[in-house]
């Protein structure tokens, strides 16, 4: 990078600061080697992981820690797949016991088709986990009131979706995301739905603090190239937001002088 923006423009969540505003997942890659190279190409410092039973048949070494260096990446465990607050709290406790940090990307899913959050369960689990000392990063929908309640409950970050998990539909409701960002004090990190670089750029242009994505990179034809594209898009969107865009107009305004035209 030719400018020093990233040296001063940190993403700070729960007392931790990161220079990259892009958080990437570790699921659905064609193979682990591609994942490792994609992570490097993304510039991300935070990667998400899930908690699951060990495969006791151990046909492969499925544990992600055989492939990701916890010295290099901040491990953000999630509670993906949990449909009740109780399950999410259970998974969060197991994740913390795995020993890296007290951060949890809290998901309490309410519907199998959309994977939309169960906001009542999400709020309940947030309260429980905050009381237990967790830094809760709460995956939620684009509802402002829920976001405000999560902040009140002590969430370290609120993570509204751009569109459904794994859908690649991009940012469906920029107004709602912008409003959440404007009204909350804690970081707003858009989680889920980004499909390609332009989606990431537009999302960052809303002023949010970061983006978490997995499928858009992992299932691209060339994940490593897409990871780098996402890094550039997140950076571009962030810089454009900080630069302040021109106002929208319904009519044209000439860019060249209207004076000095020939007769």
């Amino acid at each position: 990078m030719t400018s020093t923006l990233s040296a001063t423009d940190f993403l700070t969540v729960g007392g931790r600061s990161f220079t990259s505003r892009l958080i990437v997942g570790t699921g659905k890659y064609p193979d682990n080697e591609t994942m490792v190279r994609a992570h490097a190409a993304s510039g991300a410092e935070v990667v998400t992981v899930a908690v699951r039973r060990v495969d006791l048949d151990r046909k492969n070494r499925a544990g992600i820690l055989y492939h990701i260096d916890p010295e290099r990446y901040f491990m953000l465990a999630n509670t993906a797949g949990c449909y009740t607050a109780e399950d999410a709290v259970r998974y969060a406790r197991l994740a913390r016991e795995a020993g890296f940090n007290e951060f949890i990307k809290l998901e309490v899913i309410g519907d199998e088709e959309t994977l939309f959050p169960d906001v009542a369960g999400l709020l309940a689990a947030t309260k429980t986990l905050v009381a237990e000392g967790f830094q809760v990063m709460a995956y939620t929908n684009e509802d402002l009131i829920t976001a405000l309640r999560l902040e009140d409950a002590g969430a370290a970050a609120v993570m509204p979706l751009a569109s459904p998990i794994g859908s690649g539909l991009g940012l469906l409701n920029p107004y709602a995301i912008r409003t959440i960002k404007r009204r909350l004090s804690v970081p707003v990190i858009v989680d889920a739905g980004v499909g390609t670089a332009s989606d990431a750029c537009v999302t960052m242009e809303q002023g949010v603090d970061g983006i978490l994505m997995n499928t858009a990179i992992a299932t691209a034809d060339r994940p490593v190239e897409m990871a780098h594209a996402m890094q550039l898009a997140v950076e571009a969107g962030r810089r454009a937001y900080l630069a302040g865009r021109m106002p929208r107009r319904e009519i044209a305004v000439p860019s060249s002088p209207t004076q000095g035209m020939l007769d």
Binding site: T26, I64, E97, A192, N214
Partner: protein
């Protein structure tokens, strides 16, 4: 003379184990690294330092989890 084998559920599957097996011995038997596996015994987490001193009993439910790829 060893006692009779006990029946436990490990990750949802029934297993027969010798009596007086500790959780640490169970992990070793399954060739699992206790540094990357978290153990839940009857829905209570057993922290790593306690694995050696915790004995598995007949009817126990053991969950062994770790981190996998996810978003």
């Amino acid at each position: 003379m060893t006692g009779e084998a006990i029946s436990v559920i490990v990750n949802g599957e029934p297993r027969k184990l010798p009596p007086d097996v500790s959780l640490l011995e169970l992990l070793r038997h399954l060739e699992l690294d206790p540094r990357v596996v978290v153990v839940e015994l009857n829905r209570e987490i057993v922290r790593r330092p306690a694995l050696e001193g915790t004995t598995v009993r007949d009817g126990d439910r053991v969950e062994l989890v770790h981190f996998v790829g996810g978003g």
